[in-house]
């Protein structure tokens, strides 16, 4: 390194604290809008990709944002339920493949997505270990849940009790881990999958217990030829095992078994349009196109983002003005230094070059630092879209 560049380097080194402060301030001013922009683009792309890959979601009338976000990201909500019979009725129309979804329960904090094997097929979930859930009481874990909990095929996982102090509610169900899905980088990684029938066990709609003719007499309140009334003290099975599996049965009308949402995968766009208009015309349920709902949602989000972009621009402009001020004041302090340069015969533009090189150096370092910090942020930030 020679000449002006050497002098600029030596000056920056001699005032290390000031130089680092300048680099830090500029890097910070750049990092905020860059990171926000990059993350917003990723967020936008990811949200739209998952939404656009899901043709239709059918659910109870109500908040379409909640319905869509629950079906796509298993976000907890107080959605009204639709019946399994409604799904069967739609299935008979033959316009689409319908995937049931029941989303009311969690296991160790992870959402339990009670569905059917069509969901895994649709989302491309492939077991990296074990199998899909093949029977009630079995779960297959998303890769994130399996890694976080250290569970694998053959282990057991308890569902989270919904009403801790309500003994009339079904107890936590001890579920067998049938397998683990390979990582997909989506919300599916952080969910626990089971058959929809398992959710009905968790709801208490289906349960298993001893046969009524094997129950001890003190648990039978009354017994006639036509009716057996059993005490609430009868303990229902809290785990489905090969031995007690046959005793699990549904209560009440099986046509009202509840679902949180139904994914509809139409054979063609025409089928999708007819299906959607038919469901919405009946007004008893709603069919929404997730991509349209997400577009609406992001439309609002990105109008707000424009404001934050403006704030970022002001931040950059303010920092630039402050940096300019620092260099201006610094050049005044360096007037004797410049006069010395002039006296020893340096060209007139040498002073300008010296300051310019120093400014350029600071800017390059700050840009590099901001770029590195942005990359690091993108790499280290948890996948918040998946937990949206």
């Amino acid at each position: 390194m020679r000449g002006i560049a050497y002098l600029a380097w030596r000056h920056a080194s001699a005032h290390r604290g000031r130089t680092l402060l300048l680099v830090g301030c500029i890097a910070l001013a750049l990092w905020v809008p860059w990171t926000a922009g990059a993350l917003a683009r990723l967020y936008d792309a990811d949200l739209r990709a998952r939404a656009s890959s899901t043709p239709l979601v059918i659910g109870a009338p109500g908040n379409r944002y909640d319905l869509t976000l629950a079906a796509l990201y298993f976000r907890p909500s107080e959605l009204e339920t639709v019946t399994y019979a409604e799904m069967e009725r739609l299935q008979r129309e033959g316009r689409a493949t319908f995937v049931p979804m029941h989303l009311r329960f969690t296991a160790r904090g992870a959402p339990i997505v009670a569905t059917s094997v069509e969901y895994a097929e649709f989302r491309g979930l492939v077991p990296r270990e074990g199998t899909d859930p093949l029977r009630i009481g079995e779960v297959t874990l998303g890769a994130g849940v399996a890694d976080a909990l250290g569970l694998g095929a053959g282990d057991r996982l308890y569902s989270d009790p919904t009403e801790l102090y309500d003994i009339s509610r079904p107890p936590a169900l001890k579920m067998r881990v049938a397998g683990v899905y390979a990582r997909t980088g989506t919300a599916d990684d952080d969910a626990v999958f089971c058959d929809v029938r398992t959710a009905w066990v968790l709801e208490g709609i289906a349960h298993g217990h001893q046969s009524t003719d094997q129950i001890e007499d003190d648990l039978v309140l009354s017994r006639t030829d036509e009716s057996v009334s059993v005490s609430g003290a009868l303990i229902e099975y809290a785990e489905v095992t090969p031995e007690n599996e046959a005793s699990f049965h549904y209560h009440g009308d099986s046509s009202i078994l509840p679902l949180s949402a139904i994914l509809a995968l139409p054979e063609s766009q025409k089928d999708g349009t007819i299906l959607k208009s038919g469901v919405n015309a009946r007004r008893t349920h709603q069919a929404v196109t997730p991509s349209a709902v997400v577009d609406d949602l992001l439309g609002v989000v990105f109008r707000i983002k424009a404001f934050f972009d403006l704030v970022g621009a002001f931040l950059v402009a303010t920092t630039a003005a402050l940096v300019a001020l620092v260099f201006l004041l610094s050049s005044r302090l360096r007037a004797p230094e410049m006069r010395t340069l002039d006296r020893i015969g340096a060209p007139r533009r040498a002073a300008l070059g010296l300051v310019g090189l120093e400014v350029a150096g600071v800017l390059i370092l700050a840009t590099a630092a901001a770029g590195g910090a942005t990359a690091l942020t993108l790499a280290l930030l948890p996948d918040l879209v998946a937990t949206f």
């Binding site: 993350l39 109500g62 908040n63 379409r64 909500s77 492939v126 879209v385």
Partner: protein, 318 residues
């Protein structure tokens, strides 16, 4: 009740923090193609599927002779059903394992859904409650719909329309000849039922199970059921025994036989013959899958109708 604003605020919070990530959506076809077969586990579904499509396109997942009421499919059997293009089941209470098994609903075809609703027979069952829970029962539609020629024809017509579309290399025209042949066999079965009705000639047939309801209706035979519930190997249902005694009281009103759609309890059958004069007759409803070289469900069903007719003839000639 959640409001949209909650969702929007949540989205705004996330977006304003710009905290997000995630990879691209995975390919939808990561699992590869499914096997070009229809999976069946019971006699009637095996009968219809094999008759229409041929045995090569049918995957029978239950061992021959397995009673659906007792079957617990192992993991391999479930995987084979999930892997098939279609899973053909009878439905209702006929296959209790369906309530506990994860089959794909979009690919599961239920025979009882294909038959006219007004042809189904519904029976009551013992109602019970658990503590403060709602009272309920496990009765309902008699699931042996395939034993009714009208319903079996309806199911065959529906399947002949829909099954070919789900399989590669099968056209609707391919199944027309097998369909006609199967319908011809049902005509023969129906003729046997008419002969049974003529033989019973107004006398009541007593059975140990409701499985015979459609056979009786098609044969125009009056059926009375004494639910003995002897399948578990325990003592008979007291109410069923009382019903049986009441029904057998007047020898001029019944056909002199006790029909067992399930396995005959030899000791009980002997007592019934000695004390009530009823001859036990086994009636194979064709519910179980047949093994290689054995008769299919319709052959067994027709043979059972003929055997019952002969037993009634013999009983009446005594």
């Amino acid at each position: 009740m959640p409001r949209p604003i909650h969702s929007i605020l949540a989205a705004l919070a996330v977006a304003s923090l710009a905290a997000c990530g995630g990879d691209a959506q995975p390919e939808r076809s990561a699992r590869g193609p499914r096997s070009n077969v229809v999976a069946v586990a019971s006699g009637p579904t095996q009968l219809v599927a094999e008759a229409l499509l041929g045995a090569d396109l049918v995957r029978t997942v239950a061992p021959a002779g397995t009673r659906m009421a007792d079957w617990r499919p192992d993991d391999e059997a479930i995987r084979q059903m999930v892997d098939a293009r279609r899973v053909l089941v009878v439905g209702g209470e006929f296959e209790p394992w369906l309530q506990r098994t994860s089959l794909p609903p979009s690919r599961t075809v239920t025979l009882t859904d294909l038959v006219p609703v007004d042809r189904k027979i519904e029976v009551g069952a013992i109602e019970h409650t658990h503590g403060g829970g709602e009272s309920h029962s496990h009765g309902g539609i008699v699931p042996t719909v395939w034993t009714d020629p009208v319903q079996l024809r309806a199911a065959i017509e529906a399947l002949a329309e829909s099954l070919p579309a789900s399989l590669d290399g099968v056209e609707r025209t391919n199944v027309q000849a097998p369909r006609a042949a199967l319908l011809g066999r049902i005509d023969a079965y129906e003729a046997s039922l008419r002969e049974l009705g003529a033989t019973a000639s107004g006398r009541t047939v007593i059975a140990t199970d409701h499985g015979l309801e459609y056979v009786a209706r098609a044969a125009e035979v009056e059926l009375e059921v004494a639910l003995l519930e002897l399948d578990g190997g325990g003592p008979p249902n007291d109410q069923g025994v009382r019903d049986l005694e009441r029904l057998a009281k007047d020898p001029s009103s019944h056909a002199g036989v006790l029909v067992w759609p399930g396995a005959i309890d030899a000791a009980f059958a002997e007592r019934v013959q000695e004390q009530l004069g009823l001859v036990s007759v086994h009636f194979d409803l064709g519910g179980e899958v047949d093994g290689p070289g054995s008769s299919d469900a319709l052959e067994r069903l027709t043979a059972s109708v003929d055997a019952l007719r002969e037993a009634i003839q013999e009983s009446r000639s005594r």
